[in-house]
């Protein structure tokens, strides 16, 4: 049961082969047994979960169930969920019990009838690529427990890879769904900016943040995405578009698909064996009827520099709300108001978050704004235009998700720049606001490799189709880490 797809689980629930309470208990028991070692979950609340499962069983019995009613799922701890501790991986919010639901949570609970198994570990305020900046400790990669699961949605990735949950939510500001999906052998999708509501999703860089599904297959991602999307009055950047079924095109043949291979993603900087796995995947696509064309993203090498101006600038503004007044941590001892702010923020934030706030404060300060912030925004435009140009000659862009497989815990923790460069292939996609995916495409030394797929704006269905057909022809995505139980 634990390895079943969402479709199979839905069928098992619909045919009363298993109840949601039984299914949820199965996963809760696995979490209890295996989480102490993996540390994928930071909050589990058996009673809350089982209450949702009972409600789901009632819906199923009453015949009012939706396609995923009763299916348990793990929630990244960046999504506010009413009555649940919502920490965002930070000491600042270690005791914050959210008084409201994020739109994504509300949709999944109230509309879809899904059951939350708990909140998953993450890099503090989603700032990191290894899950090592979490206040709640590092997460171990189920494929090799001496290695990172990736980040920032590292807990969600490890939870699904270890089958502590059938699927999970993640968020992606610079690669935080795709990179951990690659490192843990999952399928992850970052939708077009504006498709998934950001209301109640704790803000890091508001012009880049986007929630999305992480699961074992493209089909699972499509079904989960269906429950997450939709126009939301409460998010000023939410896009009002017609509702679509993201699973509708899964089986379309790939004949005539034009794959763009950016020459910048196939040069130096990527591990040779990772690259070989990516090339083998592209060869498989050619067998499936696709053709390849070389494209160019000439400004892509500027994406990491531009991102490390734009994202920290937005973060320094967003995180100014954590001042010890309305919610979250307040320093136990302080003098005047200013001193309270200074001590609260010094004690409540970890080192990486402070670094990014400082970068942001600097690039926005008088005299540096034009040289850094505006220049970064101009480069952002150049990067977005590169994609527009590339999509004139192809339907989907492919390349590696991450330049290496999962690295060792601690390996890059002391060097921020090395850590930042692990997102070198994913960041440009966020800057442009395009949808991107990572799908499993092989192994190097027993560690998973991810293939990145980038689509044009609102091409989620097409990306899922392209991913699904590959997963019908290969079994990389179905491989599970050994020695979990």
């Amino acid at each position: 049961m634990i390895n079943k797809s969402l479709k199979e689980l839905a069928q098992a629930l619909a045919t009363k082969q298993i109840s949601s309470v039984e299914l949820s208990t199965l996963f809760l028991d696995r979490i209890e047994r295996l989480n102490p070692d993996i540390n994928a979950f930071v909050t589990v609340d058996r009673e809350k979960t089982l209450a949702m499962a009972r409600a789901a069983d009632a819906r199923i019995a009453a015949g009012t169930a939706g396609p995923l009613t009763g299916i348990p799922v793990a929630q990244k701890d960046i999504f506010c969920a009413e009555g649940w501790t919502t920490t965002c991986g930070s000491k600042m919010l270690a005791n914050f019990v959210s008084p409201y639901d994020a739109t994504v949570i509300r949709k999944m609970h109230s509309e879809a009838g899904m059951v939350s198994l708990g909140k998953t570990n993450m890099d503090e305020f989603a700032m990191g690529s290894s899950n090592e900046t979490s206040y709640f400790g590092q997460v171990r990669n189920p494929w090799d427990r001496t290695r990172v699961p990736g980040g920032s949605s590292g807990g969600s990735a490890a939870a699904v890879a270890a089958r502590l949950a059938p699927a999970a939510t993640g968020t992606d500001t610079g690669g935080s769904i795709r990179q951990p999906a690659a490192l843990c052998n999952l399928t992850g999708l970052k939708p077009t900016y504006g498709v998934v509501s950001r209301y109640g999703m704790i803000a890091f860089a508001s012009s880049l943040d986007q929630g999305g599904p992480m699961a074992a297959s493209a089909e699972d991602c499509a079904l989960l995405l269906n429950t997450m999307v939709g126009f939301d009055e409460r998010d000023s950047t939410s896009l009002n578009r017609p509702v679509e079924d993201y699973a509708r095109d899964l089986d379309k043949p790939l004949n005539g698909l034009r794959i763009g291979l950016p020459k910048e993603f196939f040069g130096e900087g990527c591990d040779a064996e990772v690259m070989a796995a990516v090339r083998a995947a592209i060869a498989e696509y050619e067998k499936l009827g696709a053709s390849c064309v070389e494209v160019s993203l000439p400004n892509s090498h500027l994406s990491v520099p531009a991102y490390y101006v734009i994202a920290p600038a937005e973060a320094s503004s967003n995180l100014s709300r954590f001042d010890g007044v309305r919610y979250g941590y307040r320093a136990p001892e302080y003098g005047n108001l200013d001193d309270m702010y200074m001590k609260t923020r010094a004690q409540g934030f970890g080192a990486e978050v402070k670094r990014r706030i400082l970068i942001g404060a600097y690039v926005l300060s008088h005299g540096y704004y034009d040289a850094y912030y505006l220049q970064a925004q101009r480069i952002r435009r150049l990067i977005a235009n590169d994609f527009v140009e590339a999509f004139k000659s192809c339907d989907v862009i492919m390349g590696p998700t991450s330049p290496s497989t999962a690295f060792k815990l601690g390996e890059k923790a002391a060097d921020p720049v090395q850590m930042y460069l692990s997102d070198i292939y994913t960041i440009a996609v966020n800057l442009a606001g395009l949808p991107g995916m990572s799908i499993p495409c092989g192994f190097v030394g027993g560690l998973p490799v991810g293939l990145q797929l980038v689509g044009n704006y609102f091409a989620e269905s097409q990306l899922l189709n392209v991913a699904h057909r590959y997963q019908q022809a290969t079994d990389w995505h179905a491989r599970r880490p050994g020695a979990i139980d």
């Binding site: 500027l302 005047n336 402070k354 970068i359 480069i379 606001g433």
Partner: protein
């Protein structure tokens, strides 16, 4: 470009983050490493390029000037570090 220790301390103050001399020194090293990466941007001629603030080229929506939210003050104040009589408490600001 390279940040001086004084600049690091000044930014930390602007961001309202208390920082010790030791921390300032470590932070200075890290920030300068990061700015070295960022400096690559300066070699690019972006004259005439419109800055891109956002992924979607749409304007802000307007809505009816009507009350849409219910009063949830008690629930929101329940998570505050210190409140009294419906007010958030902070150290005395005006003597």
């Amino acid at each position: 470009m390279s940040l001086t220790l004084e600049q690091v301390k000044r930014i930390a103050h602007l961001a309202r983050i208390e920082i010790s001399d030791d921390e300032a020194l470590t932070t200075q090293g890290h920030l300068n490493g990061i700015f070295q990466l960022i400096e690559q941007m300066q070699a690019v001629d972006t004259a005439g390029v419109e800055p891109m603030a956002h992924a979607q080229d749409v304007s802000q929506r307007l809505r009816e000037d009507a009350v849409t939210e219910v009063d949830r003050r008690a629930a929101y104040q329940a998570v505050a570090p210190e409140t009294e009589a419906g007010l958030y408490l902070v150290p005395k600001v005006i003597e």
